[in-house]
Amino acid sequence: MASNTQKSSEAKLNTLMTGPDERGHFGLYGGRFVAETLMPLILDLETAYTTAKNDPAFQAELTDLLNHYGGRPSPLYFAERLTQHFRDVAKAQGGTGGAKIYFKRDELNHTGSHKINNCLGQIQLARRMGKTRIIAETGAGQHGVAVATVCARFGLPCEIYMGATDVARQSPNVARMHMLGAKVNPVTAGAGTLKDAMNEALRDWVTNVRDTYYLIGTAAGPHPYPAMVRDFQAIIGNETRAQMLEREGRLPDTLVACIGGGSNAIGLFHPFLDDEGVAIYGVEAGGHGLDVENGHAASMNGGRPGVLHGNRTYLLQDGEGQILEGHSISAGLDYPGVGPEHSWLKDSGRVQYVSITDKEALDAFQLSAKLEGIIPALEPSHALGWVTKLAPTLPQDNLLVMNMCGRGDKDVFAVAGYLGIKL
């Protein structure tokens, strides 16, 4: 796996894979915009991570955990009925297309999403650094559950900050966190969603600097988090590469993933950035539509560059630089920012960022359940919403991989409510 990745980047002079620079910049984006109290901590973290990354013992331990505790590698699954469905759609429109659809099944991981990949990496790092208390923010609760899980596994106390609105709409995950022994702190500030949870987690960290490790759940925040979380999630893309070579004897043509903060997406995309033939799509949450003011969470398609939560990146904000709350049916995509590497990939044009509305995501959710027997989380339902539009326009030999980054167990009651299903 690794050798494939290396080959493609060594051959390139203008590689897109070596970022960030030593100050944590991806072009204009990234950096370390935090209060001075936190600076020594993130500098320590960077040193600790660099050392761990290059330590074969750390990597071996992590691989063992990912395989035997996390359940990796996750399958690359040919979604046959969906593929047929898109071919039928193409045909009905007078076309001959319909890409061959694969799901990268990260929803089968322990705890039900890609979040565990990152949590296993960071908890190992926290333990190496001698930290004795873990804090985290969570939106959909998938990251919170993954953090609570690894904390239970390694006997560390943890506190999870979660917006009060999200506590209500993702209650199954709140229950799981409690059962795993985590303390869940509902945050009522703002709209009570992910950004408010992140503010509160940062306030906790500033207060408890000496013993506490902040386990950020996405590829955003101050350097080194965006690069570190990406590295831990890149196993998704590395496996996909090897699995596709084995299945089809060549690389995929198209990659699609949803974007909250951007961790599952960058994990899939990163190993392919230098493969020019691979078209890459990141799918933002279009909420009620991009034309509805403060009615979506599409930071790149509907926002402007700014500075928040430790990094410069595209943000949903008003003309005064005040941050907007944004909206999405999906608690995991409802964040006004995005990881800085995505901002850079957007400006460079290497990745195309599109958006899918609440309604389109709900339709895709049902399609996957009915045709594939896979109930997706609302987050990857956005990715599938885009696949629904894109696949019929692509030729039949186009190999498309969509990251099925989470399962829908947490969403079934909310979705039943939206669809007016009486249980």
Partner: protein
């Protein structure tokens, strides 16, 4: 380190040194709870005994602030406050007060979108003396700090209990006006540091710099101000003042006839404590 000429902040600290007392540095959020009341408080601060004013630039996501200052920021934004109105307040203040330094304090994003260079021009022209931007570290000095110095503005940095001697060199590199010592690891308005710790830390900072050292975070009462004022060159009070605004408001958050008076009488008490030690 800097190529700055003597600033209003330098002059104020020099004068207070002659008087033999610490500066009272007062923080309020611009536009809290509304423009008119906030202007009345700002304009009344020097007479009440504030030696230096920190004027908060409201931000939707004040990550380093506790509940009191978070709420004050939101009150100001809800009342329609903008960065231009903050600068207008300073401009109006300068018409009647040529000596009291004003430091704008806040977060980077509202400056960044202004954008930086225009903001610095407008701030300098309005009569602002210095900036504290919580989330711009020395590593990004070329973005805001150096251009600010180029316009004669002091860029004031925070040192914290986590700032070790090596880091302190980085923090001090382009700092001028004064050094702001955050006496606790935590957010504004949280617990208070014990005076012996503060004394040790201030002594440590003073070995590393000739700049005045002001101490803030957790100073609420005249007694605390007096104790800190014995070792530091300045005492910063913020959350307590903002809390006084909050408790003076009507249930639906409107200013009352008491609002400005409540803040200013608290400042008088703090000022008296620093003058009698």
């Amino acid at each position: 380190m800097t190529s700055l000429k003597e600033t209003r902040i330098d002059r104020r600290f020099a004068a207070l040194k002659k008087e033999g007392r610490a500066a009272l540095v007062c923080f309020i959020t611009a536009g809290d709870p509304d423009l008119e009341t906030s202007s009345a408080i700002l304009n009344g601060l020097p007479k009440a005994g504030a030696d230096i004013i920190e004027l908060g630039m409201p931000f939707s996501d004040p990550m380093a602030d506790g509940p009191a200052i978070q709420a004050s920021s939101l009150r100001a934004l809800k009342a329609g406050h903008t960065m231009r109105k903050t600068l207008d307040m300073v401009r109006a203040f300068r018409k009647t007060d040529a000596d009291t330094p004003i430091v704008l304090m806040g977060y980077y994003n509202p400056i960044y979108v202004y954008p930086n260079e225009t903001f610095l021009d407008d701030a300098a022209a309005a009569g602002v003396d210095g900036l504290i931007v919580v989330d711009v570290p020395p590593e990004a000095d070329d973005e805001l700090c150096l251009p600010a110095i180029g316009r004669g503005l002091n860029f004031i940095r925070l040192a914290t209990p986590t700032t070790d001697d090596k880091r302190l060199k980085t923090v001090l590199k382009n700092t001028s006006g004064f050094l702001y010592y955050v006496s606790i690891t935590g957010i504004t308005g949280a617990g208070s540091a014990n005076p012996e710790d503060v004394q040790l830390q201030v002594a440590r900072l003073k070995r590393a710099t000739t700049l005045p050292v002001a101490v803030g975070f957790g100073v609420k009462t005249p007694e605390q101000a007096r104790a800190i004022g014995e070792t530091a060159d300045g005492v910063v009070v913020g959350s307590a003042l903002v809390r006084a605004i909050e408790t003076s408001l009507t249930q639906d958050g409107r200013a009352t006839g008491n609002t400005a008076g409540a803040v200013l009488s608290l400042v008088e008490g703090l000022s008296a404590a620093l003058r009698t030690s």
